[in-house]
């Protein structure tokens, strides 16, 4: 269970205690998961720089959410740690709030999934200039909109009403974030036609669509083989 990654280093003091509490129990379950996914595709190099959300079922969908929350949390940790110049105190405060929300989501999934959780992902934000306000906000908008579309698109795959409710509790917060970020970039773009259809509804995206986007910011490529998407 070695998790020394760029992502963990970005917030090294975080989230070890709750994880380690169950780490002993985690080895067997995660090992089984890895073995199962390996046997399906022996050429899948996920053991070195990728992973799969696992067998079809609620745990896979929760891990899918966990992967996205890891990415979002890492992004905003970077934003807050290297705040672009020209940010208002209002912006700094609210972007920091968003960071803390995403960290809460990440830590929630990590703790709740415990031994069933995928490992910590290594992000790759080399395409984002964190000193450039417009680029940071554009990336934030993409992350938030993608997050909303991901939860909306995968909600029906959850069999448990309780997990669905938990996903619902999170997705509306992502939508609140998206609305704020979008209006920061351009007033009244909080729900424009790039994300909302003619029925006034958010456009959902499939796991394959979302992971294609997410993997553009990940060194650890995430696959969902059993949902028809391979990162390789």
């Amino acid at each position: 269970m070695k998790t020394e990654t760029q992502f963990e280093n970005a917030d090294a003091n975080m989230a070890r205690r709750s994880f380690l509490r169950y780490a002993g129990a985690g080895v067997a379950a995660v090992g089984l998961l890895s073995a199962a996914s390996c046997s399906k595709d022996k050429n899948n190099p996920h053991t070195t720089n990728g992973l799969d959300i696992g067998a079809t079922g609620d745990l896979a969908i929760l891990n899918y959410a966990y992967a996205l929350e890891q990415l979002e949390a890492a992004f905003y940790i970077n934003v807050a740690a290297h705040m672009y110049s020209g940010a208002s105190s209002e912006e700094i405060a609210l972007l920091t709030d968003i960071r803390d929300h995403e960290v809460a989501h990440r830590e929630f999934f990590k703790t709740a999934l415990s031994t069933n959780a995928i490992k910590a992902l290594t992000p790759n934000f080399s395409s984002i200039d964190f000193s450039d306000r417009a680029k940071v906000l554009a990336a934030a908008k993409a992350f938030e909109d993608t997050g909303v579309s991901a939860y909306n698109g995968a909600g029906y795959l959850l069999k448990s009403a309780e997990y669905l409710l938990l996903a619902g509790k999170i997705v509306s917060v992502e939508a609140r974030h998206a609305s704020y970020i979008r209006n920061l970039i351009s007033p009244n773009s909080f729900a424009d036609s790039t994300v909302i259809d003619s029925n006034g509804m958010d456009k959902p995206q499939s796991i394959a669509q979302v992971l294609t986007i997410a993997n553009g910011f990940l060194t650890t490529k995430v696959s969902a083989t059993n949902y028809g998407y391979k990162a390789y």
């Binding site: 917030d11 975080m14 989230a15 070890r16 205690r17 709750s18 169950y22 002993g24 129990a25 067997a28 940790i77 807050a80 609210l94 709030d97 960071r99 803390d100 929300h101 809460a104 989501h105 830590e107 929630f108 703790t111 709740a112 415990s114 031994t115 909306n152 909600g155 029906y156 448990s160 009403a161 309780e162 997990y163 669905l164 409710l165 938990l166 619902g168 509790k169 999170i170 509306s172 917060v173 992502e174 939508a175 609140r176 974030h177 609305s179 704020y180 209006n183 007033p187 009244n188 909080f190 729900a191 424009d192 909302i196 259809d197 029925n199 006034g200 509804m201 958010d202 456009k203 959902p204």
Partner: protein
């Protein structure tokens, strides 16, 4: 996790708890006595599930029940924004643009839900007095259509409550890909609206109001306390969010409550919108 200790604590405030979960209590004791690591690891979610069984809604509405419930709320919201945009309230150009965007969505939601329900759709003229709502809620918001601040306060309550209402119904749509996805797609749009209205209120001077819901009622308006009941919850799926590590120490209560929006049952929402004329 001392599960039996938690149950004992619950029993202190709810003496009927054993009856509510029985015979599940015995099942829990068995789980803990197994000493199974896998079972223990699964407990955070399992405990939440148990709590839902003990305290959750029991009656299961039909899909059409859920859609008509949503339609009633959308009728109210659409009528509210139609009235606001048509009113003599002086809005800034930006505020007006937001309202027109939201107005368009709420009316689109009405049209969409009516088209899905077809002849089963509840008619708007069965709502309010002769189909006319009372946006003052019996006088609680007397200047709602003449004072921008009051209008936005009511708008915020409607949007935040709408988010909670949809969220509370999702569980009844498990397995129904089409309807559940549609409901989720509307749910998140209501959340975008709620955030936008909150941004407006913040810009207008409600400095304690953020785009997300922090703690219980963060609006500064006591009349909507019940619309925010339970939003201060920090226990999610059996995990106490404030006990998790954040960037600097534990995750704060503000971040923990801001990060998770809470649902409302249909009974709660119906009671909240009844003063506006929703039947």
């Amino acid at each position: 996790m001392n599960l039996l200790g938690i149950i004992d604590e619950i029993e202190k405030v709810d003496p009927d708890f054993q009856d509510r979960i029985s015979p599940r209590r015995a099942a829990i004791k068995n789980i803990t006595s197994f000493g199974s690591k896998v079972a223990v690891a699964a407990l955070p979610f399992a405990l939440g599930s148990l709590m839902k069984k003990a305290y959750g809604q029991t009656a299961t509405p039909s899909v059409n029940d859920v859609l008509n419930y949503a339609l009633k709320l959308e009728y109210l919201e659409a009528a509210f924004y139609n009235a606001g945009v048509a009113s003599n309230i002086t809005f800034s150009a930006t505020e007006k643009s937001y309202l027109v965007t939201i107005q368009g969505h709420e009316n689109a939601h009405v049209a969409f839900l009516k088209s899905v329900l077809g002849s089963a759709a509840v008619a708007q003229n069965t709502q309010g007095a002769n189909g006319t709502y009372d946006f003052t809620a019996g006088g609680a918001f007397n200047d709602v259509l003449t004072n921008a601040d009051t209008f936005f306060a009511v708008a915020q309550a409607f949007e935040d409550t709408g988010v909670r209402a949809y969220k509370g119904q999702a569980g009844f749509l498990v397995g129904n890909q089409t309807v559940l996805t549609a409901a989720l797609d509307i749910h998140s749009v209501e959340a975008r609206h709620a955030s936008a209205i909150r941004q407006i209120r913040r810009a207008r001077g409600a400095s304690g109001t953020k785009p997300w819901v922090v703690g219980a009622n963060d609006t500064g308006i006591a009349a909507v306390n019940n619309n925010y009941a339970g939003e201060d919850n920090v226990l999610q799926g059996g995990v106490t969010i404030t006990s998790l590590n954040g960037v600097n120490g534990n995750i704060s209560a503000a971040a923990a409550t801001g990060a998770f929006d809470e649902p409302l049952t249909s009974a709660q929402v119906v009671a909240l919108v009844a003063p506006f004329g929703v039947k």
